[in-house]
C-alpha cells in the first residue's frame, strides 16, 4: 500500500519569506520528484501563507518529504492528504475561435454541459473559463480540442482539507 504511487496534496502553512518557495521546491528537486502543480496564496490567518502542492509519489516518500518541509524554519506546519480527504479545484482558460461558436452548434452544448463560463467574446475569439477537478478539465479539453484550441492554460490545484488544520492553535501555543 505504502509503496504504490499515488496523488497527494501537500498543504504547507508558512511565514511570508523570500526564498521559502526555493527552499521547499529544492526538497522535491533533490529527490528527483516532479511537482505536478504548485499554488501559493494567503490563508485564512492574517500574515500566514499557504502552499498547495500536488505530487505523485508513494506514501513512504511523502511522509519523509513532509518531515523535511516541516523542519524548515519558516514552515509553520506541513500536511499531506489523499485526494479523498480534500476538496480541490483547478481552474483553466481556453481561447477558441469565435466563428466556431456560431458555425458549430455542438460547441455550445459542450460549454453548457461542462458548466464552463464564457469570460469574453469578440469577433476573433472567445475565452472560456472552467473550474473543477482535473478529470473534468481534461475531458473538456479533449472535447474542445476537436474544434481547435488557440490557447490553453490551467492553474495549480487549490485545495481545502476536510479535516481541521489547527494552525491557529499551533501559533497560539507559541505565545504561551
Amino acid at each position: 500500500m505504502e509503496k504504490e504511487i499515488k496523488t497527494f496534496t501537500v498543504s504547507i502553512y508558512t511565514e511570508n519569506n523570500i526564498g521559502l518557495l526555493n527552499r521547499i521546491s529544492a526538497i522535491f528537486q533533490r529527490r528527483h520528484i516532479n511537482i505536478e502543480s504548485l499554488n501559493s496564496s494567503v490563508s485564512e490567518i492574517k500574515g500566514v501563507y499557504r502552499f498547495t502542492i500536488i505530487v505523485n509519489v508513494t506514501e513512504i516518500q511523502i511522509k519523509k518529504i513532509i518531515g523535511q518541509i516541516d523542519k524548515q524554519i519558516e514552515v509553520i506546519k506541513a500536511y499531506y492528504h489523499n485526494e479523498d480527504d480534500t476538496v480541490y479545484q483547478e481552474s483553466c482558460l481556453f481561447k477558441i475561435k469565435s466563428s466556431l461558436l456560431f458555425d458549430d452548434r455542438q460547441i455550445q452544448n459542450i460549454i453548457k454541459d461542462s458548466n464552463a463560463r464564457i469570460v469574453t467574446v469578440n469577433k476573433e475569439f472567445f475565452v472560456l473559463e472552467k473550474s473543477g477537478r482535473r478529470k473534468e478539465i481534461d475531458s473538456l479539453y479533449d472535447k474542445l480540442n476537436e474544434y481547435g484550441i488557440l490557447q490553453f492554460v490551467r492553474s495549480g490545484a487549490v485545495s481545502i482539507t476536510k479535516q481541521p488544520m489547527n494552525i491557529s492553535e499551533i501559533l497560539s501555543e507559541f505565545k504561551n
Partner: protein, 565 residues
C-alpha cells in the same frame, strides 16, 4: 539589553557578534564586505578576526571551533567568489549538525540581479545547505536577523545559517537596538518529550536479552555525556558509536564496544544483526553506518532517541521513537530503568573483538612488516597524549584509522568531517579547534591528498601563531579511492597516485618546525618531539603505500557481511 544610538549597519554587525558572545571569527575580506572589516578593525580588542587563506578554510575553522567548544562558529566573506567558497563548509556543517553563522557581503541592493561585479545569488546557492539563510537589504533588519541567525544555528538540531548583507545596508545609519531571539513561532527546536514513549522504551530496555546501543553526535550536541554514561552503566548495555559520536564517553569505558559502520569494528557490526533491541541515541542511520538497509537489524526492535522528527523512520523504522533532546530524555528515562548486567552478551562482543584483533588490529598497531602503518602512528600519538588530545582528522583511510584507534578521555575530542566527507577539512578545522581551546592539545591527522586541498592554511597557522600539531600520513596515494580500485575495479588505479612535493620544505617555508619519518625506530621520538613542542609542528610520516583499511562492509552489503580482509 538595548541602547539607542545611530550607527552604521556594518558597526551593527560587529555589535551583534559581540552581543552574542563571539570572540573569534574567521574570514577573508573583499569589496562587498569592506565596511564590516573596517568596523572589525575598530573593535579588534573585542573580536579577534583570523585571516584564513581561503574562505573554505574560514568555514572549516569556524566548524572546528564549534565542534570542540559547542559554541557557534562564525565565518565571514565577501560577495561572489568569497561567498561561493563557503558552500563546502556550509554543506559540511549542515550534514554534521554544526552550529555556524556565515556572514557574506553582497553588492548594493540597487545592483541585485544586474550581474554586477562579484554578484552571486548566494542565498539561492546556499539554500539546500543551510538550516536557514536570509538576505538583508536594510540596516534596520541587521540586529533582528543576526539574533535569529544565532538562535537558529545553535538551537534544536544545530546547523549552519548564512546571512547575506548588501553593501548599502552596511553603510546605512540607523538606531541600533539588540535583543536576543528566544523563540520563533514557526520553529520548534525541541519536540515535546512524551512520557508514553519513555515508558515504552524503558519497558523494552528492561526486558531485552541482547540489547545494544548505538550512539551518535546527538549525545554530544545535547551535552548529555554524563546522563548517557549513567544510562549505559545502569542498563549494562554494550554501546557502540558512530564516527560522530565517539568521545562522548571515554573510549576506555568497559561497555564501549567500538565503532559501527563501513570501517567500524567487527563485533558491533556483526551483532547489530543479532541483538534483540537496538537503542539508537542521537544518530541518523547514515548509509555508511547501516550498509544494506534491507538487511539491517531486521530481527531487532528499535528505539530511536532523536531530536529531529524528520529522522524518525527516515532510514530505519523505529518501533519506539523517543522524540526530544537527548539530555532530557536520558535524564527522565533513567529512573524507569532496572540496573542490569549483560555479561554473557558482552562476552559475545569480546569474542568477536579477539577475532578482529588477531586478523586486523594486531597488524595495524604492532606491525612486523617493514612499512609503517597508519595505525601505529595513531598508537604513538595515544602514547604521548594519553587520550587527552583532540584529534582532527581529514577524510579517507587515515580518518578511518584515526577514528578506530584514537583514544579519548574527553568529549568533543574527535573532530572530523563525517557526513559530507570533505577532504581538506582537517587543517583549517584544527586551527579553529586550537583557538577555541588553547589549553588542549590539538592534533590534526591528515592524508597527503586532503592536506594539499587546504595546505595554504599553513599561512594562517604561521601568521596567527596557532600551535596545532599536524601529522600527514603520506602513502603517495588517494588511499581510500585506491583501496576501492584494488577491491572493486581490478586494481585500475585511475588518477589516485600522487607525486608529492617536499612537505617538510613547505612547512619550513612557513617557518613551521617539521620532521619527516619513514622508519619505525624514528617514529616514537618524532611524535614525542611534536607533542612536546610549544609551537606548531609538522610531522610527515611515510606509510605503507598500498595498505587497506579493514574491516570493511562493501557498499550494498549487510553489516554482518563485514570483511576482515
Amino acid at each position: 539589553m538595548s541602547s539607542l544610538k545611530k550607527i552604521s549597519g556594518s558597526e551593527a554587525v560587529v555589535k551583534c557578534l559581540i552581543a552574542e558572545g563571539v570572540e573569534i571569527i574567521y574570514g577573508y575580506p573583499g569589496g562587498a564586505i569592506m565596511p564590516v572589516y573596517d568596523e572589525l578593525h575598530k573593535y579588534e580588542d573585542k573580536i579577534h578576526h583570523v585571516l584564513t587563506r581561503h574562505e573554505q578554510g574560514a568555514t572549516h575553522s569556524a566548524q572546528g571551533f564549534a565542534r570542540i567548544s559547542g559554541k557557534v562558529g562564525v565565518a565571514i566573506a565577501t560577495s561572489g567568489p568569497g561567498a561561493t567558497n563557503l558552500v563546502t563548509g556550509l554543506a559540511d556543517a549542515q550534514i554534521d549538525s554544526t552550529p555556524m553563522v556565515c556572514i557574506t557581503g553582497q553588492v548594493a541592493s540597487h545592483l541585485l540581479g544586474s550581474d554586477a561585479f562579484q554578484e552571486t545569488d548566494i542565498v539561492g546557492i546556499s539554500t539546500p545547505v543551510t538550516k536557514w539563510n536570509h538576505q538583508v537589504t536594510k540596516a534596520a533588519d541587521i540586529p533582528k536577523v543576526l539574533a535569529k541567525a544565532f538562535y537558529i544555528a545553535k538551537s534544536g538540531r544545530p546547523g549552519p545559517v548564512l546571512i547575506d548583507i548588501t553593501k548599502d545596508a552596511q553603510f546605512e545609519m540607523f538606531d541600533f537596538n539588540y535583543s536576543k531571539v528566544t523563540g520563533i513561532r514557526s520553529y520548534k527546536p525541541v519536540p515535546k518529550l512524551e512520557t508514553t514513549s519513555l515508558n515504552l522504551a524503558a519497558d523494552l530496555i528492561n526486558k531485552a536479552v541482547k540489547p545494544m546501543i548505538v550512539w551518535g553526535q546527538g549525545v554530544i550536541l545535547s551535552k548529555a555525556e554524563k546522563e548517557f554514561q549513567a544510562f549505559v552503566e545502569k542498563t549494562g548495555i554494550p554501546a557502540a558509536w558512530t564516527i560522530m559520536g565517539v568521545s562522548a564517553i571515554p573510549t576506555s569505558h568497559p561497555l564501549n564496544v567500538g565503532m559501527v559502520g563501513m570501517h567500524g569494528n567487527y563485533a558491533p557490526n556483526m551483532l547489530t544483526n543479532e541483538c534483540d533491541l537496538l537503542v539508537a541515541i542521537g544518530m541518523r542511520f547514515d548509509d555508511r553506518v547501516t550498509g544494506n538497509l534491507d538487511k539491517y537489524a531486521k530481527q531487532a526492535q528499535v528505539i530511536h532517541f532523536e531530536i529531529d522528527p524528520a529522522e524518525i523512520n527516515k532510514n530505519v523504522k523505529a518501533d519506539v521513537p523517543v522524540l526530544g533532546d537527548a539530555k532530557e530524555s536520558l535524564t527522565k528515562i533513567l529512573p524507569l530503568l532496572k540496573s542490569r548486567k549483560h555479561d554473557k552478551w558482552l562476552n559475545d562482543f569480546k569474542k568477536l573483538y579477539k577475532i578482529e584483533y588477531e586478523s586486523v588490529i594486531k597488524d595495524d598497531l604492532f606491525p612486523t612488516k617493514e612499512g609503517l602503518t597508519m595505525g601505529e602512528v595513531i598508537k604513538e600519538i595515544n602514547n604521548y597524549t594519553k587520550g587527552n588530545a583532540a584529534v582532527v582528522s581529514d577524510v579517507g583511510q587515515h580518518q578511518m584509522i584515526a577514528c578506530r584507534y584514537a583514544e579519548f578521555n574527553k568529549s568533543r575530542s574527535n573532530i572530523t568531517s563525517g557526513g559530507l566527507g570533505t577532504m581538506g577539512f582537517a587543517l583549517p578545522a584544527a586551527i579553529g579547534a586550537k583557538m577555541a581551546c588553547p589549553e588542549r592539545e590539538v592534533v590534526a591527522v591528515i592524508g597527503d591528498g586532503g592536506y594539499q586541498m587546504t595546505i595554504q592554511e599553513l599561512g594562517t597557522i604561521f601568521q596567527s601563531k596557532v600551535p596545532v600539531k599536524i601529522v600527514v600520513l603520506n602513502n603517495s596515494f588517494l588511499g581510500m579511492v585506491r583501496q576501492w580500485q584494488q577491491l572493486f575495479f581490478e586494481k585500475r588505479y585511475a588518477s589516485t597516485e600522487l607525486i608529492n612535493p617536499d612537505f617538510t620544505a613547505i612547512a619550513k617555508a612557513y617557518y613551521i618546525k617539521s620532521k619527516k619519518v619513514s622508519k619505525r625506530e624514528e617514529l616514537a621520538s618524532a611524535v614525542e618531539d611534536m607533542i612536546k613542542s610549544k609551537e606548531s609542528f609538522f610531522l610527515e610520516v611515510v606509510v605503507e603505500k598500498e595498505a587497506n583499511v579493514f574491516p570493511m562492509i562493501p557498499s550494498g552489503a549487510a553489516v554482518s557481511e563485514i570483511r576482515l580482509k
